[in-house]
Subunit: 336 residues, 2 copies
């Protein structure tokens, strides 16, 4: 299998990305190859250790870079030789079986959708992020690929996330919750109400009904479905709040005796470790015809290594075939 | 001023509500009266100490109660003598200058809107919740009154929350952020993009542009505007996450020596205290023609006492007059 990794994507590129690719070598199978996409000359001269991995890691030239804050569509149009554009093209041409980037999320979504197209049966892809909660991993979809969702999109996110949660996270019958503002059937906007009916009508899904914001963290569901606007707010709010709380704890501890503060450090570290998104590597763009993982902008080598591992798992377990089989035979179809 | 308090609203009613009313007596002015709305006979026999406050606290009979999880509209129709319905009617008749409830939020919003009507110039009321963040209080509006917002609603929430933040929280020129999924102008759905133009066009507002979920907690704004669906998810997610994190810390500390755990207790308590929503008492339903505060379902006596205090502040400082003056003279009008 050939796994294309965006060497220039993210706040810690290319150093952490290259390191992640190198770290992944230990678990690659024979015949597997990691393609590092970026300015070839520069990468090969800056990271001479890459020579050692000939036949396993190969640099594919992409001289341009799309910045983290550049407008996605415009920059894709201008920078046809950017790492994101090049890796999407490789996937399209069948020269890469998976694409992984910690770069500009909007540009990734646009390029991957445009080049890889949707899986048969899928109307719109969605990004699924795994939240490491205190009650276990919760998969949230969509977190930003599709900000104006139709009911059918939300239904398909429920299906795709269920299959992801089952086959990649190993959760037997993932409980699916639909994000709303109250548990009653009547709550939510029209889109959510219609999506609820669609999801409910599919008896193969383990649907637990509407959930509220707090339910993501209290163990009532394994999968949480929402539109990309709400999901993106949820994702970033959670990051901001967790950072803020740990900062506050640190600040309060500073006012304490140094010895006490030091004793508390391992406690905080343990909590952090249990809820570290880097463990999950990247967020799959579910519904595209290929294996695409989008990583956090602040990804470190371990994130990339784990993403490479996840992409192998996704590919080997044929999650896309399962999605396709499910959706093409589902009785729930787009009602408009 | 007459302040109607729903004696039967919330998980800790009527005990904590009655206590809150009694605790508020210390700061009431001459002529102020707290009306406790609920089943008169039962309240007066269960809380005999109320006799001592004759002339300051008066029980107004409302034999019915709307449960926390009952469908709002239906239950209001059936239970015309519920505490929520009765207090809304008192406000309508001019027999109460403020209404406060920790009961069924949906029923409160519906009853208050229906009976009190909107302030001149206001299209739709919104609930504004004050988040006690590490960087200071942030007012978020709407958190659930209006789940399908028009751009004009979001603009008016920006105006009303600004005036609330300024006059009640004492923030001189509140910085207004519009909740979206990226800082660039082009990000967000169509409603948000149009709202952005409206807010931007009003130079009297201190608009800082789009904000993301994380920005609520990192000090970039004093006011955050969003539709009621997103706001409700934000509110409940924050509650759930904070609870979850503190539980996790507690859990980890349990694995430590008891003495260490005990030493950490005051640290956690200090953090809790600094970020305690009970301090702010209740969330105003901004835009109704009256003073209406909706309190958290788990309100305790201190919450109610603080809400009574806030309602006095709101009333005395004539926040509604300021909203009305601003919006009736604003150049930004409903474009459809």
């Amino acid at each position: 299998m050939r796994i294309a990794v965006d060497a220039m994507g993210g706040d810690n590129a290319p150093g952490e990305i290259v390191s992640g690719a190198i770290e992944s070598v230990e678990f690659l199978d024979e015949g597997d190859e990691v393609l590092l996409i970026g300015p070839k000359e520069k990468l090969e001269s800056d990271f001479r250790e890459l020579k050692k991995y000939k036949g396993v890691i190969r640099v594919v030239d992409a001289p341009d870079v799309i910045g983290m804050d550049e407008p996605p569509i415009e920059s894709l149009r201008k920078k046809v030789k950017s790492s994101i554009a090049v890796m999407a093209k490789l996937a399209k041409l069948g020269q890469a079986d998976a694409v992984i980037s910690a770069g500009n999320t909007g540009a990734c979504v646009a390029a991957f959708q445009m080049r890889m197209r949707n899986l048969p049966g899928v109307n719109r892809p969605g990004i699924a992020v795994v939240f490491p909660t205190f009650e276990g991993p919760v998969t949230i979809c969509d977190v930003g690929a599709n900000i104006v969702c139709k009911p059918i999109n939300l239904y398909q996110y429920a299906v795709m996330s269920t299959l992801y949660s089952k086959h990649i996270l190993g959760i037997e019958e993932p409980r699916v919750g639909l994000m709303s503002i109250g548990q009653e059937d009547a709550k939510g906007n029209e889109i959510v109400k219609k999506a609820r009916e669609l999801i409910k009508s599919d008896e193969k899904l383990n649907f637990v009904g509407n959930i509220e914001g707090r339910d993501i963290f209290n163990g009532v569901c394994d999968v949480a479905i929402c539109d990309g606007f709400v999901g993106n707010v949820v994702l970033k709010l959670t990051e901001g709040l967790v950072d803020g709380l740990f900062k506050a704890i640190k600040h309060e501890l500073m006012g304490e005796k140094v010895r006490l503060a030091m004793k508390f450090k391992p406690v905080i570290k343990r909590i952090y470790k249990k809820h570290d998104y880097n463990e999950y590597g990247g967020a799959p763009l579910l519904g595209v015809n290929g294996t695409a993982l989008i990583c956090h902008g602040s990804s470190v080598s371990r994130t990339i290594k784990n993403a490479i591992n996840t992409s192998r798992d996704y590919y080997v377990k044929k999650v896309n075939d399962k999605i396709m089989d499910y959706l093409t035979s589902s009785i729930v179809k787009d009602g408009g």
